[in-house]
Amino acid sequence: MTPSSVLLNLALSFAGLSALCLAMDRHHRAIFHGSPSRKRARALRWTGWCGIAVSFAAAILTADWNFGPVQWLGSLTGAALVLVGLVSYRPGWVRPAAILALPLAAVAAFLA
């Protein structure tokens, strides 16, 4: 339950949720100016759910079964709020932020 383990969860949740968000037609069009192909949408959806699953695994590994689920849900909420803010106010930042979240997660995983 250290700050770095929460950061790891936040970064993974953010990356996963961003992929899920971009898999949706409305948000993909707003951010990339075009609908995603069916293949691309499916790939994004898979990536997104994997990100959330990896985030859950990371929560259990770093904060065990007692606090892990609490931390996982909390970080999903926090990451989703940031994502919705970006989608509404700075849509152009969503993709770079999601990509940036991955090395951040790696650093946090190293510290946690």
Binding site: P3, V6, L7, Q71, G74, S75, G78, L81
Partner: protein, 506 residues
């Protein structure tokens, strides 16, 4: 059913949300602040600094004070100085029916503290579940509202047709109603696990208040035995009726500390001075979800251990786990921040829901709003902005009232209610969009003034920099929120005016 299931759920969501919204907004805001109760208490007692006093010595200092001031009490409670509360708190019961009495002692001297009298973060904490009313009445109101809120939450989930399709959607460029609905949905859905958890566990916390009959009928007037059998408190030992000299506290406390690794939180002396007196050492919660305190009880005269409490029976363990989840004492700084954020989102869900009710019922241009709408608009202003204004006034009073003022702690509470009442009156007198902007600005400025007033009236340097930053962030949030709100109103007004002009031209 003539109407569809979903429509009837929408009706239920609208009205259950409206009737509990104002009370639950106050409960959510003060509860969210309570995640930082100890930080607030530290800020409100700027004279105090961490004191390194051995727990046994502090316990004896507290007991020495109580021996003089409460020799006939049935129970003494000495709460030991902690990092976040560097005071010895002494509490005593003159009889089981009498209200609990208390004093705060300096940890170094054992004399009544010269720090300013304040309720600290406990004021907001108690408001969170008792609304600063008579305790039972307040708990009943909060408990009943929370039950209705749970209904509003579940019916809201059923009503919301596009939970997944609109998961990331916040359209701020559309109509005011659309914007409010999106804000309501986003804050509600994204933190839904928290909302359900906190409402449900909150009701569980009040379960014995809301449903006292199970224990009352099973234990027939001896409710204490329930807590003993559940493993939450050691058995009460009746007084022998003859005096006897008790052992000094410090060695007993040290023996208890050798058994339990958690920090010692409180020492309780039951029937002090009696031959059958008991000393109970209560420790802090071990790391884990459950809210439970290991305890070691001694016979005060002989020093024999009479009870050890640590593990709980399954039902009690489930109950205390719910309590633990609700209070989140286990959360470190990062997780605590997420709990705080979720609490803010809960407050925002309720506030946007209340505003949405009035926006959706705005009268056609040229028509005067009816009584119901005026009432809701006034209550919305008085609650959503009135409560933050009250909290800011409470903090300001802590810094500005003279330290030696008689009944100072009560005056702080008075400032809270006076400022809130005034704001509510203004809200009722002029329930307009412009008032949102004006009151939001006032609330923002009040919070913004706190770091400044704090720096001018205390000499703690950068000790409270996190508190100050939080105040600035709250000020920014309130200010920008109120401006956004009134901009929506203005947009509608200009649109209405434009339509009127077009009509006039035609």
């Amino acid at each position: 059913m003539r109407r569809g299931f979903r429509q009837s759920m929408a009706w239920l969501h609208t009205w259950s949300g409206l009737v509990t919204g104002w009370v639950m907004f106050c409960v959510f805001v003060t509860g969210t602040a309570t995640y930082y109760r100890t930080d607030i208490s530290l800020w409100m007692r700027p004279e105090l600094r961490a004191a390194a006093v051995a727990p046994g010595v502090a316990a004896e200092r507290g007991a020495a004070y109580l021996k003089v001031h409460a020799p006939k009490a049935v129970s003494w409670f000495v709460s030991l100085p902690q990092e976040d509360r560097p005071l010895i708190g002494v509490y005593w019961l003159d009889s089981f029916e009498a209200p609990i009495r208390q004093a705060s002692l300096d940890a170094e001297t054992g004399q009544p503290t010269t720090a300013r009298a304040t309720q600290g973060g406990d004021f907001l904490y108690r408001f969170h579940y008792e609304l600063q009313m008579m305790p039972m009445l307040g708990r009943w109101i909060v408990g009943a509202s929370a039950l209705v809120l749970l209904v509003a939450l579940v019916s809201g989930i059923v009503t919301h047709r596009r939970i997944f399709a609109d998961f990331f959607t916040f359209r701020r460029d559309r109509s005011a109603q659309r914007g409010w609905l999106d804000a309501h949905n986003v804050t509600g859905v994204l933190a839904l696990p928290f909302h359900l958890m906190i409402t449900y566990t909150g009701i569980v916390t009040l379960a014995f208040t809301l449903m006292p009959w199970g224990i009352a009928s099973a234990y027939r007037g001896d409710e204490m035995r329930f807590y003993v059998e559940a493993g939450q408190t050691p058995a009460w030992r009746a007084a022998a009726g003859r005096p006897a000299e008790a052992l000094p506290l410090a060695p007993l406390v040290d023996r208890a500390r050798a058994e339990v690794s958690e920090p010692l939180e409180m020492v309780i002396v039951n029937n002090p001075g009696d031959a059958a007196s008991t000393v109970v050492a209560v420790f802090e919660e071990p790391k884990g979800l459950a809210h439970r305190h290991p305890q070691v009880a001694f016979e005060a005269v002989s020093g024999e251990v009479v009870a050890r409490l640590g593990t709980l029976k399954p039902a009690a363990h489930a109950f205390t786990s719910f309590l633990g989840l609700h209070e989140a004492h286990f959360a470190g700084p990062a997780l605590r921040g997420l709990f705080f954020l979720c609490g803010l989102m809960g407050s925002a869900t309720i506030a946007t829901g209340l505003v949405l009710w009035s926006v959706a019922r705005a009268p056609k241009p040229g028509l005067a709003p009816g009584f119901g709408l005026r009432l809701v608009r006034g209550l919305n202003l008085g609650t959503v902005l009135g409560l933050p204004i009250g909290i800011a006034a409470f903090f300001l009073a802590n810094r500005l009232l003279p330290v030696a003022l008689e009944a100072r702690a009560a005056w702080e509470g008075g400032a809270f209610f006076a400022a809130w009442g005034l704001a509510a009156l203004v809200g009722f007198a002029r329930p307009h969009g412009r008032t949102w902007r004006e009151m939001g600005t006032v609330a923002g400025l009040l919070f913004l003034s706190l770091p400044l007033v704090g720096a001018l009236t205390t000499d703690r340097g950068l000790d409270f920099v996190w508190f100050d930053l939080a105040m600035v962030a709250i000020a920014a949030g309130l200010g920008s929120g109120a401006w956004t709100l009134s901009r929506y109103e203005d947009v509608r007004r200009t649109r209405v005016a434009r339509t009127a002009q077009t009509l006039a031209r035609a």
